[in-house]
């Protein structure tokens, strides 16, 4: 105890710290193939952080003898903009790490070692801040831009001068939902089933925010927010948190609960990742995720016991169901109806695989995927209480949307 009576942390010599281990399985496994620079000066002219970044990226690629088609990982600020600018067709990994740059090195090394990406382009640009540079302060086009490696339009109401008249940001899903209804001659009931399924499942989850069952009439009568999507198509804002311990499989086996192994994990993004420039319902980030997971994973949809498609908007779930191959494009409604358990008001694929059994983002709460991940782990640990899928050993999570956050993960019990 210190003099104020508070407990003090025991001093452990750093060399003896049990949390600083010597594990380094990636040793000598990852290398730099090139390094390039734009050079540095106090007068680069009419540049932006992004224009400098792409100049350096092109030089590094040319030095290494690789093209945009060889790169599938990006590490640096605003990777979605840099991908789009460089026309890098497909990414399976990206991250915008903190500074200094060793964060980026560690990030790229981890990505390559794990196979998350084969060729990572890592970059970092510096831009004189008008706060600290007289010459920068004399360039008025720098004033709004410091620290933002992108250019152009931003999310709805986000300071690009377009106010509500954009589909950038979350509203983009509403706009593409209109395209889905148009191209497949579908109706809003398709989305309604997703909302009903989540709510029926949430009834068995004491952690869920919304647990009162809803009907299709409730869905169709719900307040319209952004047509064609209504209040019940959109995830529910909540307070709360999820947390996870991640370690090696070996160490996890010595801990208190059964390990859940990360069998495969990927991200997915395409070059035209701006919401209104995305090529089509058949060509966006989800398709990269599906192709990447199918290549990395020994486990696919026929093998799993429980399925977690993201549902920040109901339409995203419909898209994941179709794009993952559970049914044909535009066939989600028929597929859901064929696999609907009328007694419980929810999907049971082939009579045995529930979909977001915790209630998902639409009913448990808008957890941005952490709820889906937690429930998948609980199911595979046999700790899902009333929601437990008997003998669940394999789970698929397909998270995120179309543009800059599609992701997928296969989890398995440690059998």
């Amino acid at each position: 105890m210190d003099r104020a009576g508070r407990p003090t942390v025991p001093r452990v010599p750093i060399g003896a710290s049990p949390v600083i281990g010597d594990s380094n399985p990636g040793k000598d496994r990852v290398a730099f193939a090139s390094a390039a620079t734009t050079g540095f000066s106090r007068s680069q002219g009419e540049v932006t952080p992004a224009s400098l970044a792409v100049d350096a990226c092109i030089a590094a690629m040319k030095d290494a003898g690789v093209g945009a088609g060889d790169v599938n990982g990006l590490v640096g600020a605003n990777p979605q903009y840099i991908q789009s600018a460089l026309g890098i067709a497909h990414l399976t990994y990206w991250n915008g790490p903190g500074i200094p740059f060793v964060s980026a090195i560690a990030n790229a090394m981890n990505a390559v070692y794990t196979g998350a990406a084969d060729v990572v382009l890592a970059y970092h640009s510096l831009y004189r801040n008008p706060m600290f540079s007289r010459s920068a302060a004399n360039d008025p086009f720098r004033a709004m831009d410091f620290g933002f490696a992108g250019s152009g339009m931003s999310a709805q109401g986000g300071g690009d001068g377009f106010g509500p008249d954009t589909i950038a940001g979350a509203v983009g899903y509403t706009a593409w939902a209109s395209r889905y209804l148009y191209e497949y001659n579908a109706s809003r009931e398709t989305f309604g089933y997703i909302a009903i399924n989540d709510r029926s499942n949430a009834a068995r989850n004491p952690a869920a925010a919304l647990r009162d069952p809803i009907t299709m009439d409730d869905y169709l009568d719900a307040r319209m927010i952004r047509s064609p999507l209504c209040l019940l198509d959109m995830d529910v804002p909540v307070d709360g948190a999820d947390a996870f311990i991640v370690t090696t499989a070996e160490r996890a086996r010595d801990m208190a609960l059964p390990p859940v192994l990360i069998h495969a994990c990927t991200q997915g993004m395409i070059a035209q990742n701006e919401e209104d420039q995305t090529p089509s319902l058949r060509n966006h980030g989800q398709h990269v995720v599906v192709e990447s997971l199918k290549k990395k994973s020994d486990i696919w949809i026929d093998d799993i016991d429980v399925y977690f498609p993201y549902d920040g908007f109901s339409f995203i779930t419909v898209s994941w169901i179709e794009n993952s191959g559970w049914c044909g494009l535009g066939d989600a409604r028929a597929f859901i109806e064929d696999n609907w358990d009328t007694a419980t008001g929810r999907m049971m694929i082939d009579g045995r695989v529930p979909v977001n059994p915790h209630g998902g983002a639409l009913s448990e709460g808008g957890t941005q995927g952490s709820g889906h991940t937690r429930e998948a782990i609980h199911q595979l640990q046999g700790r899902a209480a009333d929601r437990q899928v008997p003998g669940a050993s394999k789970a698929l999570i397909t998270a995120g949307g179309f543009f800059f956050n599609a992701q997928g993960c296969v989890l398995r019990r440690d059998d």
Partner: protein, 146 residues
């Protein structure tokens, strides 16, 4: 020609930079200019410092015809406040329009002088201009010939 000082003054609070400034300068001059590569002819939007296809830096803000076809549509029953937008008067339409200059090249804005019931994917539209926040703002209207 709108000079830099006027451009910055009239877009105070908007994130202008060296890459997007010609797009915004075009708006003040009532011309919708999108990024086009002077070397390979490829259009792109939103503005970027290089051509995503050939990596040329010769990007020129180039006027588009303003004709197009509604590709995506939504109606906002609520949304961020904006000059001239009254959600209580009825849902506010937002359309993404496919432009004829290049497959997949699109521009998003609102649509004016139309009943919402007439606005649908596939409809032909043309560019027009309104005033918003004291600046010209590019919008669409339904074309007379559908």
């Amino acid at each position: 020609m709108i000079d830099d000082a006027e451009l910055l003054a009239r877009y105070r609070g908007v994130r202008l930079d060296h890459t997007n400034k010609e797009f915004y300068r075009g708006l003040l001059e009532r011309e919708l200019r999108l990024s086009r590569c002077a070397d390979c002819g490829w259009w792109h939007h939103r503005p970027k410092p290089i051509c995503p296809r050939c990596w040329s830096k010769a990007i020129v803000a180039t006027p588009v015809s303003g004709r197009g076809t509604v590709h995506l549509v939504m109606f906002l029953y609520q949304g961020p406040p904006a000059d001239g937008v009254d959600y209580d008067a009825g849902p506010h339409p937002v359309v993404t329009v496919e432009l004829p200059e290049q497959e997949g090249l699109r521009f998003t804005s609102t649509i004016v002088d139309s009943n919402n019931d007439d606005i649908a994917i596939g409809k032909a539209v043309e560019l027009t201009w309104i005033e918003r926040d004291g600046r010209p703002f590019p919008v669409f209207r339904l074309a007379r010939l559908q």
